[in-house]
């Protein structure tokens, strides 16, 4: 059985309460951290090699050390709990079951960064999780882990939970900061980065829920020990939310470096493909990462087995690789239509584009319309080339990564499954359930 750091004791009844959490070793890391110096904590996190779990995989310790230190200006720590990537549901699970783990991580991280006010920005749709967190925060205040002079260290911390209004774009860190300030959630133009000018123009660190939760095991076991788990520069454990056509969907904690094949087919994890069918494609890290056909997800182009790690999954670049992303693992069996799936993803990005910069505002909608046209049997070969062209004109030209996130799935689907698109164009009569997708107001002008 693989090692569990975050999901340890997750099935203990009442682990979401302070009493049970403490009985199972909770807040021991906090007590240890409070006896350390903030710089030492940052050093431990650096040693651990912990990388951001929200998708980009940026080393957390390095991010923390970038924070500017102008005199007399407060620091802020924000936990990004705006988990909205299709296919990703690990943070929600963690917060719902073990809210105190996140709170403990928040206190340690705030102490390390010298932040006296910290926020958990939670997605608006997860209101019930907000109530769980607020109850847990109250318990932490009552126990003296939050508030003034925490554990006699002289460190004060106030922790707030702030719900968004349900926008994917507010998961982008500067969009999140704008939203937290009470403005429209438009991402800011970088530089300046949040580490210099973030919330209320003060130095700010924004970290994912899982990253902050992982700080707790890093402190309790020590950075060096944590770095021994995993493979190469992908250290530690990662939560993977597996879904799609697998026998056992759910949130799994894996040690980074686990072979993808084992993850899909072993009974300990996904338990194989539904109904004994063949695997067709996998989206390995949430809807925005490139989709890979089964042969490329199980083996790298060099023929080595593909591992669940930042490096192995991105082996081959975008030509033949993908990304670990946020850990939203979507498996698709041979009955899946890539075109329909892609249209669904693109529809999502079209709906969630903030409309600030032109390529994303206009391009996502255009791609969605072209895909819908192909999907309903009105497409031409030219439309496939047009899609390819549009995605190329969005990628890398936008303010925030939403443009890239919308372009990558389209690019990879056409790259690996062009034949399927052509099949839709050449044999429109064979498309199943076409009428289901009809919408009168949006058909091409003929």
């Amino acid at each position: 059985m693989a090692r569990k750091l975050l999901l340890e004791n997750i099935d203990v009844p009442g682990i979401n309460s302070m009493e049970a959490y403490r009985a199972h070793g909770g807040y021991a890391a906090l007590e240890k951290a409070m006896r350390m110096k903030p710089a030492e904590i940052v050093e431990e996190v650096k040693k651990s090699g912990l990388r951001g779990r929200g998708g980009a995989g940026f080393p957390t310790g390095m991010k923390w050390s970038f924070i500017a230190n102008p005199p007399g200006v407060p620091h802020y720590l924000i936990c990004n709990a705006d988990e909205s990537e299709p296919g990703t549901f690990k943070d929600r699970f963690l917060m719902q079951r073990k809210p105190h783990l996140l709170i403990e991580g928040m206190i340690i991280s705030s102490f390390a960064l010298g932040a006296n006010t910290s926020y958990i920005y939670i997605r608006g749709e997860m209101l019930y999780v907000l109530h769980i967190l607020e109850k847990a925060i109250q318990e932490a205040y009552d126990a003296g882990y939050l508030g003034k002079n925490i554990l006699g260290s002289g460190f004060d911390l106030d922790l707030y939970v702030h719900p968004g209004a349900g926008a994917y774009i507010c998961g982008e860190e500067t969009g999140l900061i704008e939203s937290l300030e009470g403005k429209r959630g438009n991402p800011r133009i970088k530089p300046p980065f949040p580490a210099v000018k973030g919330l209320w123009d003060c130095p700010t660190v924004v970290n994912n829920v899982e990253t902050i939760a992982a700080v707790v095991p890093v402190i309790s076991m020590g950075g060096d020990e944590y770095a021994k788990i995993g493979i190469g520069k992908s250290t530690g454990t990662k939560l993977i939310s597996a879904c799609g056509h697998i026998n056992k969907p759910g949130v799994y904690e894996i040690e980074l470096g686990l072979p993808v094949e084992e993850f899909i087919y072993s009974d300990q994890y996904c338990g194989g493909i539904r109904g004994g069918r063949k695997l067709k494609a996998v989206v390995a890290g949430g809807s925005s990462v490139p989709i890979l056909p089964s042969d490329l997800i199980l083996k790298t182009p060099k023929g080595e087995p593909r591992l669940m790690s930042y490096e192995s999954l991105s082996d081959g670049g975008f030509q033949s690789g993908t990304m670990l992303g946020s850990g939203g693992f979507i498996a698709m069996d041979e009955t899946t239509s890539i075109v329909k799936n892609l249209w669904n993803f693109t529809r999502f990005y079209h709906h969630e584009s903030c409309g600030q910069c032109s390529p994303c505002r206009e391009g996502t909608g255009w791609m969605e319309k072209v895909l819908h046209k192909i999907l309903t049997g009105h497409g031409t070969i030219k439309d496939i080339d047009l899609l390819w062209d549009i995605q190329g004109k969005i990628e890398g030209k936008t303010i925030c990564p939403l443009g890239d996130a919308a372009a990558w799935p389209v690019a990879s689907a056409i790259r690996h499954f062009r034949a399927e698109f052509e099949e839709y164009v050449k044999n429109p009569s064979k498309i199943k359930d076409v009428k289901h997708y009809y919408r009168l107001h949006d058909m091409p002008v003929i």
Binding site: A167, I169, R184, I189, H350, H351, E352, S353, C354, G355, Q356, C357, S358, P359, R361, E362, G363, T364, G365, W366, K369, L386, G392, K393, G396, K397, T398, I399, H441, D442, P444, V445
Partner: protein, 330 residues
């Protein structure tokens, strides 16, 4: 002072200058077009992406190129930076893409649009657009709205540059309009039961790069190129009083602020000057205004007489020289 090289032209600029400002200092063909950046409005720019350039060398200290094209209007120059604009086919291709994106939902109703002739989007698509659209779906449309007594909003034409929002934030007392909704249905709108009634609200029309905000007192009166722009001023307690009168004979059709060669207003004018002073006797007329930009206004029969005289004089001189050369040759 940091030294930056743009398309082979080097210039030393003060700390904090953006690539676009540096390019404007050099001038000429290498200046990237800008649809949302406005030098007199703080925090503007970065949205439209038409000014994107490639940074081939980040700085002298860190010569790595920037991984993605950057918005030149919001990227400060570093010492030793090397920028490619028109020398990079990649940038030109990307710009073409942006223009296409801006136009897919634009109604292209220039023949009936008041902005035609002084429209940034028109100039941009003339320079960088394609002659045919690849977009074959119904275009997004909105209802026309009156936002206040003086301004008409054609949301269909809007490219969401946020300039009018910045004007309302920075020049007027109170902003009562903003951007509602998101994505491609985002729209400029006033807040519920609010009208834009402010002493400086007319400047929103001047900064609008397209015909989304038009002057209700001037709508459909005349095409801009049929009017004679005249520099004029008056004593005004609220603003500088420096304006351009757009005249036809003795009649003032409209009053606008003065725009520089980048079509940007440096001195904003108040609504009293703009709407209430339509009699030529209320103004001190300085003389004809020269419109620098590539616009049909400067291409018509009306030109600055002095420069015309100068040009004719030069030509005559050259002709005279030629004749003398020929006669001396014989």
């Amino acid at each position: 002072m940091p030294k930056v090289t743009i398309d082979g032209h080097s210039i030393e600029v003060p700390e904090g200058t953006t690539i676009l400002q540096a390019a404007r200092m050099i001038g000429g063909e290498i200046v990237p077009p800008a649809m949302c950046y406005y030098s007199s409005l703080k925090g503007s720019g970065g949205y439209c992406r038409t000014c994107i350039v490639r940074v081939a060398q980040g700085s002298a200290k860190d010569p790595r190129p920037m991984p993605k094209p950057v918005a030149s209007c919001r990227t400060p120059v570093m010492d030793g930076m090397v920028v490619e604009n028109i020398t990079s086919p990649e940038v030109l291709e990307a710009r073409k893409g942006v223009v296409e994106f801006l136009l897919i939902n634009h109604p292209l109703d220039c023949p009936v649009c008041d902005q035609a002739g002084e429209c940034d989007l028109q100039n941009l698509s003339f320079a960088h657009g394609t002659e045919k659209t690849r977009y074959e779906f119904p275009r997004r449309t909105f209802e026309k709205k009156d936002i206040g007594n003086y301004i008409k909003l054609h949301m269909t034409r809007c490219i969401l540059c946020y300039r009018c929002v910045k004007v309302a934030d920075q020049i007027t007392d109170e902003r009562v309009h903003g951007v509602m909704n998101r994505g491609d249905v985002a729209e400029i709108s006033t807040y519920i039961e609010k009208a834009v009634e402010n002493d400086f609200s007319g400047n929103m029309i001047d900064v609008c790069p397209v015909g989304a905000l038009t002057d209700r007192t001037y709508r459909f009166k005349s095409r801009v190129w049929f009017l004679n722009p005249m520099d004029a001023h008056r004593d005004c307690k609220k603003c500088s009083g420096k304006a351009v009168l757009w005249m036809h004979g003795e009649e003032i059709y409209r009053v606008t602020a003065r725009k520089d060669q980048n079509a940007e207003v440096k001195e904003f004018i108040c609504n009293e000057c703009r709407y209430d002073k339509k009699d030529v006797k209320q103004w001190v007329v300085e003389g004809p205004r020269h419109i620098d930009r590539t616009s049909v206004i400067s291409a018509n029969h009306y030109e600055d007489l002095n420069s015309l005289k100068h040009a004719i004089g030069e030509q005559q001189k050259k002709l005279q020289e030629k004749i003398t050369q020929k006669t001396s040759g014989i």
